[in-house]
Symmetry: C2
Subunit: 505 residues, 2 copies
């Protein structure tokens, strides 16, 4: 395959390589530069992309259902045709195994089918009618029809941890296109080739369908200024973001301060607690194996990675922790995605281990095997009573990667107090031997902070269907009422319009 | 009837008159102080109210459907019993005629019935199930159930222009209570007695149902500091606001800057354009009468007041404007609600009349007849071509009250350019002789900025049913996806929670 040697922006249907700043991605296995040279977008290019999107916004909003369905079908076909090349690039840029990248493509294909089904059923438009009553007293009741229309140009930021499924071809991009919103995608600077190849799939699909090329545009840049300029452009009507709390909050703040504030739909990860209630651990070895899988999947780089597990002081809990730490010590180190995550992980682990209240159960960590971003999985332990007796709620700070803190409870109150300490979270998991007073009270607390509650399981590997909710109160997400995956994520980009006494045809 | 001589806060089921700052409302007819003395809330009281709401938030979230229905029924009964006294107080504080205040009570009773119906049907919870498939390859699909739960304590700010229906008993308050969210209501300082009497109806209803008294609390205050302290309290999880753009934006900014930002659902009014397309005016006299009614209803103090009308240069348009201005000149002056609106109206009219591009059609305005807040209705005129040839889009600045600017178009392009100049708006109205190329293009532009599009009618007098949308892009509302009235307004306070493999009972 011939990869490009220079990657630039894709604006209004044209490739644009003008610019005087360049960068390259890095190989997570070695930390060395790799792949094609990338041109950093200029502010002029950001403006041109935003204006091009605005210029076609009404046309995209007015697209017929058949045209939208054709676009989703074309993307399905072109992605299926080009998946090998895309998967290969994503594997190289992420250091993920081939099966993982293939699964991401399958997930995108599933989303396309799912969004097509939403369009066909029309459910996403939440239409309703009120017949009205012209002879009503004291005032006539009007005839009303409500439906939803595309909100306008959307800026989308992908996450490095899903180099295909939460990148250019994310549910964010695809849901915006499905609803008729032009998308300007800001590529992740460590995954320019994957982003570029995926953007070619979208550009080809638009061309195949005869749709405006500015319906999808992409900008590359290492500086945060590119993204900031994009979200502050008056033509942008909403933002979808997946990534860190720092990055998401910065975009939220910018968008709130605009002369005309716009909505940011940011999914920013969380510390996902897993509560093992007393007597719920029957087979410590089996549980350790399944938890090991959940904790280290994708080298722990999931928004739903279970960062804290909470158990009851007992032989079973001790045995579970011991088996788990042995498994972690025996596992091969994997590289993290990029230098930023690599450094943050080391800092997070150092803070955790330096804390007098925590105890490391795995072997002392070393970093950067082979010059790359390799890290060990880490399991630490603390006692609930000691944590709760002091002010620093450090267990609520996410460590992105394969690290988990085990908190041991001595009383039911420990469980409840810990749960009450939680901030907004994507998930909470509850393992209970049977429904009892503690599990009922814990469930109620979790309903106050979590977007998804998992019974007797672990939060990774979410299914992006209609009943899935991937979001939660801040800081898990910027708006607790919306999900970033699944059929309901279309609603973010559809604005209600009510028609009063519309002409009957 | 015995009215209280001193009005204080209602916090956690107790009246609280502690404080060292007092104020009174003013009679709009005379500008003189009137009614009981009101104690300004203290910051301690704000904190105590917020903490009391937080303390019962989980209990309120967990209320059964029957308990919620009983509460709505109790409010219905207690409001019906006490409506005469409430209507009398609202008339005195607003200077509205008796029939208007009675209609507001009817609207509240309608909302209660409507929200009960939403609860009975369960539609507001938008529940869904995915059965899952444990034998799915490569990964099992989980069984999922999604429903919605109350978001937590809500701060509500009412608007003076609906002293009953968008005040304590607003759809904001009632929808929050319906969904199980404790409400802290910040009373309007010019309507303390109406707010107090309505709060007694809610307190009585909670007591009748044996529900926690902190489910509804009220704070009085003239300083904006009270409201600001309230929305910044960490226990508050969302804000509903109806009022001015300045007030709403200030609350939006505060809530966006919180350590944990929360959603503000603000409805801030708009300039509601009414487009009369060429040849749509058949009977100028009849149209002038119906427009006169829409323009001056409630002395023009509606968020949906038609502030700009756009017509085509013609005999019919000229005749319509002349008959309308004669009717306005012949109508009796009415007082505005309070000094703030009174001053803003004078400033808005002065700016409009001082503008060299506009022409006043009604007689020169005088203000404050009898010492009160009386104002005349004002009609001014301008030519589209002249407006569009310069930079100051002053026609997009709302003048709250009975003022309308008529803009005369000479070409189809004038219509389209004017429509394209619009900012987010609650409504747009289109009067067309028949569907044609201009009406189709105009409709598409309106779909880009308006929340409701009215055909051959006027925007005032909205029907708060399920298909109504009362909102729009900023600055009409803070979030374009939500409505502040009608059955769908419940969704603002219900947060999705997904249950994965919940125990089957």
């Amino acid at each position: 395959m011939n990869h490009p040697t220079l990657i630039g922006q894709w604006i209004a249907g044209g490739a644009c390589h003008i610019g005087d700043s360049f960068f390259r991605a890095h190989d997570p296995f070695t930390g060395e530069q790799m792949g094609p040279k990338v041109v950093e977008a200029t502010l002029n290019q950001v403006n041109r992309a935003a204006e091009s999107a605005q210029a076609i916004a009404a046309d995209c909003r007015n697209l017929q259902k058949d045209q939208r369905l054709s676009l989703l079908e074309a993307i399905h076909k072109n992605l299926s045709d080009a998946r090998a090349e895309l998967e290969q690039a994503a594997c190289a840029e992420s250091a993920y195994p081939a099966a993982r990248c293939a699964r991401e493509v399958d997930r995108v294909l599933g989303s396309l089918a799912h969004f097509s089904e939403e369009l066909r059923s029309g459910r996403c438009f939440q239409a309703s009618e009120d017949a009205g009553a012209l002879d009503n007293k004291p005032l006539p009741k009007p005839r009303l029809h409500q439906t939803r229309v595309a909100i306008g140009p959307v800026a989308v930021f992908g996450a490095a941890n899903f180099p295909i499924a939460i990148s250019v071809l994310s549910a964010d991009t695809l849901s915006a296109l499905t609803t008729g919103c032009p998308v300007i995608f800001k590529a992740h600077p460590e995954q320019p080739l994957s982003c570029h190849l995926a953007s070619e799939i979208l550009a080809r699909s638009l061309a195949d369908c005869g749709l405006p090329p500015a319906f999808f545009q992409i900008l590359h840049g290492r500086s945060t200024g590119i993204g900031q300029a994009l979200v502050q452009h008056p033509s942008i009507k909403a933002v979808a973001f997946t990534g860190s709390l720092t990055g998401g909050r910065s975009i939220m703040d910018s968008c709130a301060a605009r002369p005309n504030p716009i909505q940011v739909y940011a999914e920013m990860g969380s510390v996902n607690p897993v509560f093992f209630l007393p007597n719920s651990i029957i087979n410590p070895a089996a549980l350790a194996q399944s938890f090991f899988n959940a904790m280290t999947l994708g080298n722990g780089q999931f928004c739903t990675q279970p960062g804290v597990i909470i158990g009851s002081r007992s032989e079973e809990w001790a045995s579970f922790l011991q088996i788990l730490s042995e498994k972690l010590d025996a596992s091969n180190e994997q590289p993290l995605l990029h230098d930023g995550i690599f450094r943050a992980y080391q800092k997070g682990i150092a803070d955790l281990l330096g804390n007098p209240l925590t105890n490391i159960l795995t072997k002392p960590p070393t970093y950067g095997t082979g010059g790359g971003y390799h890290v060990p999985a880490v399991l630490a332990e603390a006692a609930a009573g000691e944590l709760l007796s002091q002010a620093d709620q450090f267990w609520l700070d996410e460590i992105f990667g394969p690290a988990t803190l085990a908190i041991t409870c001595d009383t039911d109150t420990d469980y409840l107090d810990l749960a009450n300490s939680w901030k907004g979270s994507l998930t909470a998991s509850i393992h209970a031997a049977s429904e009892n007073s503690l599990s009922t009270r814990l469930l109620s607390i979790c309903e106050g902070f979590a977007g998804r509650i998992i019974f007797d399981g672990f939060p990774v590997g979410l299914e992006p269907n209609y009943s899935m909710h991937h979001g939660g109160p801040y800081p898990a997400a910027s708006h607790p009422l919306f999900t970033s995956v699944g059929g309901r994520c279309l609603s973010r980009f559809l604005r209600p319009v009510c028609y009063q006494h519309p002409p009957t045809s």
